[in-house]
């Protein structure tokens, strides 16, 4: 067993004087200080905006850039006639490990489309953002690419998104007016069925 003697590095006289070391530190902080001060002044004058003067992201005004595969709030993709692409196959509800998705399917008048969701709820208070619903969907009907992160509510009910908010990510609680035409269980007007397929056809004739 060979002994290995480790010599701690001794401070040289120059380092023991301490003042040169303080000046070295001051140099570093001063470089940062004056560079950032100069950049801030330039930003006030409206130039050199691409060189940032601080690493701080001013959150509500400036959003943090997200990866394209980042899983944020869900949305339902739409067909040309403004109805959900979802065919009510229940795969996402089945695969969901947190059991936060509730779908009530309804009959679609188009024989090429099996079903459609009369009701599509996601309870974000339970959701674990695993993204399985997106991966399992055969119709690319649900995505998690809205980039919305500021989800907060004072009540549990407030965390439940219904079909209105899922189809239009811009909508925030409380939703006051319903703009959907196809028959759906409308949470806005108190949970009764609303709309009809004859109203949808008016907008689009390319459906067979």
């Amino acid at each position: 067993m060979a002994k290995k003697i480790v010599h701690r590095p001794e401070l040289t006289f120059w380092e023991k004087l301490y003042i040169p070391q303080v000046l070295t530190g001051l140099k570093i902080t001063s470089i940062h200080f004056f560079r950032n001060l100069f950049l801030h002044i330039l930003h006030r004058l409206g130039i050199f905006k691409h060189r940032r003067a601080g690493v701080t992201i001013q959150y509500p005004e400036e959003l943090r850039p997200l990866f394209s595969r980042y899983r944020s709030r869900h949305r339902l993709t739409l067909r040309d006639d403004n109805t959900p692409r979802c065919v009510g196959c229940m795969l996402c509800e089945t695969v969901c490990p947190a059991k936060c998705i509730t779908i009530v399917p309804g009959e679609h008048p188009d024989p090429h489309v099996e079903k459609y969701p009369v009701r599509f709820d996601i309870d974000l208070g339970i959701c674990v953002y695993c993204g399985y619903c997106v991966e399992v969907c055969p119709e690319d009907a649900i995505r998690m690419d809205t980039g919305i992160l500021d989800l907060a509510s004072g009540t549990r009910e407030g965390m439940r998104l219904d079909i209105h908010q899922l189809m239009d990510p811009e909508l925030r609680k409380p939703v006051t007016n319903c703009s959907l035409d196809f028959p759906h269980q409308c949470e806005v007007t108190g949970g009764e069925m609303k709309g009809g397929w004859d109203q949808v056809r008016k907008y689009s004739d390319n459906q067979v």
Partner: protein, 356 residues
């Protein structure tokens, strides 16, 4: 007599106004400067009617917060002393400003007004006395809190301030020897002269070693990083743990006041006070000269405050034994040696017959 009183009141009011405002601004300066050093942006959210002004309203918001907070006095603590302690701290820090000459003599008609609140022959001693009395605020705060940690913090603070006061005093002896007076006004006057016709005869030129010792010891006097062992807000508990509300704010305020005080003394002793380099009193009219002098003094003080703030955000804290070693084995012998060398040089100059 009444006229003299009015003049003194105006002078005192002016000094108080400037000093208090600058100390209040120091919280903003501290936030913004540290932010710039660390590549951040700093507090900028407080706004009045949507105007943010780079966070300049934060000191105001702080003050309102401090005044509205509940003022707790621990059970069993000495109420009188507990209330007196922050008062002492602020009072002595403010009183020291009375002896600082902040501008050249102003001629109004046939009356000459010295821009100095109290014209004291031994102004330097007065300032040191006030700085030393500041210890009472600290030790009383620790003692009256009925908290063992607070008392230990107070003891640390007292030991540190007393140790560094010696180095501070001895460092200044060199300056007194060179200028031959303790009157700050006369010291500043003497610094207006030129050596060999082109170097201003400032304290830093004739006493560079004393300057380094003085600034180091003075930083320790202000109890700020790197010498903030009395407080050490992040790890060790300081003497004002049991304070809240505006009483705590007053201790914080004292820190800033002392920083400005030390900047003022350093400017007066080592950087020519209100002297503008190469500008003599007969080259411009008196009001202009006074304005320039006051601007020069303010600029120098601000630069010193900037340097102290930069040091505070650069240097890590000392260990307590390192602090004591630096004070007693480092600064004190250097200061003594400086005094001896200064004495020898002064005698030599006298013997040769030249005048420095």
């Amino acid at each position: 007599m009444i006229e003299l009183l009015v003049i003194k009141f105006i002078l005192a009011g002016f000094v108080l106004f400037m000093v208090m405002n600058f100390a209040g601004l120091h919280t903003w300066i501290e936030r913004k400067q540290s932010a710039l050093i660390q590549d951040r942006i700093g507090a900028n959210r407080a706004s009045i009617l949507g105007f943010r002004l780079m966070g300049l309203f934060h000191p105001l918001a702080d003050a309102i917060k401090m005044f509205l907070k509940e003022d707790l006095i621990p059970k069993g603590a000495d109420k009188t002393l507990h209330t007196l302690a922050p008062l002492f701290s602020v009072l002595f820090a403010l009183m020291a400003f009375a002896a600082i000459p902040f501008g050249p003599p102003l001629e109004l008609g046939d009356r000459v007004i010295d821009l100095q609140v109290a014209k004291i022959d031994v102004a330097l001693l007065y300032i040191f006395a006030m700085l030393s009395l500041g210890v009472y605020g600290v030790i009383l705060a620790g003692f009256a809190s009925r908290n063992n940690y607070a008392i230990l913090g107070g003891l640390r603070a007292t030991a540190q301030m007393i140790s560094y006061e010696i180095a501070l005093g001895v460092a200044v002896i060199g300056v007194i020897m060179v200028y031959g007076t303790m009157d700050l006004g006369k010291i500043v006057d003497a610094q207006g002269a030129l050596i060999w016709g082109f170097i201003p005869r400032w304290g830093i030129v004739v006493q560079p070693v004393a300057f380094v010792v003085f600034v180091t010891a003075a930083l320790a006097e202000t109890k700020r990083i790197p010498f903030d062992l009395p407080e050490g807000e992040s790890e060790i508990i300081g003497y004002f743990v049991e304070y809240s509300g505006m009483k705590f704010g007053m201790f914080l305020f004292t820190d800033f006041l002392e920083t400005i005080m030390v900047a003022c003394v350093a400017t007066t002793l080592f950087f020519g006070g209100w002297q503008v380099p190469f500008l003599q009193s007969d080259s411009v009219s008196n009001p202009v000269f006074v304005m320039l002098g006051m601007a020069s003094f303010a600029t120098k003080v601000m630069v010193f405050c900037w340097v102290f703030m930069q040091l505070r955000w650069t240097v890590p804290r000392f260990r307590y034994d390192q602090l004591m070693t630096l004070g007693w084995k480092g600064l004190f012998p250097i200061a003594i040696a400086n005094v001896i060398v200064t004495a020898i040089v002064l005698v030599m100059i006298d013997l040769i017959g030249g005048k420095s």
